[in-house]
Amino acid sequence: MPQPLARELGNLIERGRDRQLRLAVTGLSRAGKTAFLTSLVHQLRHAGLEARLDLLPAARDGRLLGASRVSQRDLGVPRFPYDQALAALDETPPRWPEPTRGISELRLVIRYRPAKRGLLGGESRELTLDLFDYPGEWLLDLPLLDHDYLSWSESQDARLTHGQARHAMFAEWRAAVADLDPAADADEAQLAAIAERYAEGLRAAREAGFADLQPGRFLLPGDLDGAPVLQFFPLPGLAEAQRKSLEALPEESVYRTLATRYAHYRRHIVKPFYQQHFRRFDRQIVLVDVLGALNAGPERFEDLSRALSTLMQSFAYGKRSLVSRLFAPRIDRLAIAATKADHVTPEQHGHLVSLLEALLAEPLKDLRFADVPVRALSLASIRATRPREVEQRGKRTPALAGTTLDGDEVLLFPGEVPPRLPDAGFWARQGFDFHAFRPLPRDAGALPHIRLDAALDWLIGDKLQ
């Protein structure tokens, strides 16, 4: 959608002055993106009044005046459903906001008093923060941009046969695709049926806690449900050596049909999604549900690690300058956060962070090479439990008080978080079982949180000086 020239120019000037930041909130599905955004807007809105943002120096010094939502840059994109999310938290019993099913945007103007008055500018200054929410499933499509159909097929084939649990989920699809000849003429109905099997396999894998699932629109088609562009799948057993002979196949062969659909998917769905929303970021926070991955077991844990490292290659990192700020924004500062930190007792946070660092070990090395400062923290956007202490047989044990999703009031020690991934023997012996909690009933004050203020300080604190 073409935008009015004046608006674009205004954005450009704001970007040049570096008074406008675009924050990438990255996370796979159920990592807590929506809760993070809701809480972030809420805390900034209540900053200076009830919100406790003690680790954000601007708020601690009382310089942060608050924030308000303004009309966003791209009017063709729905607004982030902040009010609905708050309404969900206000219900009795309170519940978590609905998972995101589409793209939404939000522009926030933060007003603050500068620590030192400059020559220009008055009593207060403004910082514009652009936020963007999207289904985490779609994020996994970004690595597709580096693949054509053949190489994608190969990589998927390798991935699907890796690990027993995943292999089992795709057994039905594998049986169906086994007797499909790439050179034969394509049968629409047959391809649709096999694609549906494939999508079923993906859905089952997501239910079981896997993260590295492509293509993402198969899980959450949006308005593309049933369109032929979603009726493709990888062909097992292809190899790079066959490329010449495969490309020479006639137009209506199975291979060429699937390759055309894949190319269309890539060009008309993934690429616009990436170009419109994922290229212009200044700061990034990567949210990871480490506890969920621990609950799901070692195979899913590695899968998550792989998904995150391929994913983070889609972003541009590096130092910023005036020119790059205007025309090719890069992420110059990054936070990685283990979300749902309120689901473990406070003394486990250190372990949670070291586990997170282990999970993201590969991307962290690249970031260090790009000289981008990274901070790892444990975070709970909306705190759902209260830390307690139980005295049992003369021994003091930390515990959490909260309400589970089923509505039971519990007081429990949720289990220890290991500082690194335990060995195979441990998983067979014990495994992890971290409980999920329902949000606390909201009182008049701001939403309780854990270290959201520290995350804010790291992400935008340097612009609030």
């Binding site: 601690r60 003394e347 307690r388 978080v417 014990q430």
Partner: protein
């Protein structure tokens, strides 16, 4: 009466957890009595305390001096007591009165000595607290909170002092050492830092003016020395340190030592600014130039003292800067010159 403990089943075929394994989940009855979570202190590694003690600076006690003073006080008291007794028997009231006076004097002396010792101990405790707070970033939440309590006591704040209350409301159980440090610096120390800066700025400005207008050099020197000692005294009191005679001497020595070594390298690194201030001094009259020099020295002394007595070491941007202080002293002298 307590309820009888409910039955509990132990399975025989569960494999026992390996010693290094993370602890499994454990559910409690929601009605179990629980209290607010307090971060747990991690046990110090065995031998660590001994190591720290052996690495610390050897304690030098002036046993000779102490024995001499204590012995003199003790023997004097015995002597005066026996004289008093003999006088009361013999009816020699004059000798009795003298010995009562002597006893009184000895009591006062003893009290002064004890107070000195006590204050020296406080200085030492302050140093220990500073050392402990230097490791705050690595501390676990519980240790951090304990250190915060110690800091509060050292600063002499009540539990309902507004600054401490501000810290308590801001502090959350999950805050680790580094976060606690930021909160402590903001709530407990920032007000004192502001006061310290104001004090240094005012005192050094006054000293500069004093030297600039005083006609007698000798009197100047005495006045400046006296004022600088007072500055050190007030700064120390601001950061929760009450100085006695010996502890003041010791602190003063540490400050001078620090100025001579750390301060000198700092001056070397800021040489251009120093030259600038010399140029500035050249633009003033001789007396005002001297005033500027003495004022700057006083400011530097104040800064060093604040740096040595502040329980938490200054972060990069927290410390008052010599540059600002220099500007202020200069402004005051300029005004003085113009009025003349």
């Amino acid at each position: 009466m307590n309820d009888p403990r409910p039955g509990q089943r132990f399975a025989l075929d569960d494999p026992p957890p390996a010693p290094g394994d993370p602890r499994p989940a454990q559910a409690f009855d929601p009605t179990t009595e629980s209290r607010d979570w307090q971060p747990e202190a991690e046990p110090q590694a065995p031998g660590e305390a001994a190591l720290v003690a052996s690495l610390a600076r050897p304690r030098r006690r002036r046993w000779g001096l102490l024995t001499l003073l204590g012995g003199a006080l003790g023997l004097g008291a015995v002597e005066a007591g026996s004289t008093l007794y003999a006088a009361s028997l013999g009816g020699d009231w004059l000798a009795g009165a003298w010995s009562v006076l002597l006893l009184l004097a000895l009591g006062l002396g003893g009290r002064a000595l004890l107070r000195e010792l006590w204050r020296l101990r406080r200085l030492r405790r302050h140093g220990r607290l500073r050392e402990a707070l230097a490791g705050l970033d690595q501390a676990s939440p519980r240790e951090a909170l304990a250190l915060a309590q110690r800091l509060r006591e050292q600063l002499g704040l009540d539990a309902d002092h507004p600054h401490w209350q501000g810290f308590v409301t801001a502090h959350q159980p999950h805050h680790d050492g580094g976060e606690t440090r930021a909160l402590l610096a903001h709530h407990l120390l920032a007000p004192r830092d502001r006061e310290a800066r104001r004090l240094i700025s005012r005192m050094s400005g006054d000293t500069a003016v004093l030297v600039a207008v005083s006609p007698l050099t000798l009197v100047d020197m005495a006045l400046v020395a006296w004022r600088n000692l007072a500055l050190i005294d007030r700064l120390a009191r601001l950061y929760g340190l009450e100085l006695g005679y010996a502890s003041r001497l010791r602190l003063f020595r540490a400050v001078l030592y620090n100025m001579a070594f750390a301060g000198a390298s700092e001056i070397a690194s800021e040489a251009s600014m120093e030259i600038l201030s010399m140029n500035l001094a050249g633009r003033l009259s001789t007396r005002a130039g001297q005033g500027l020099g003495v004022g700057l020295l006083s400011a530097r002394l104040g800064l060093r003292t604040a740096r040595l007595t502040r329980p938490l070491a200054f972060a990069d941007d927290e410390a008052p800067r010599m540059k600002d202080l220099r500007g202020e002293v200069w402004q005051r002298l300029r005004r003085l010159e113009e009025e003349r």
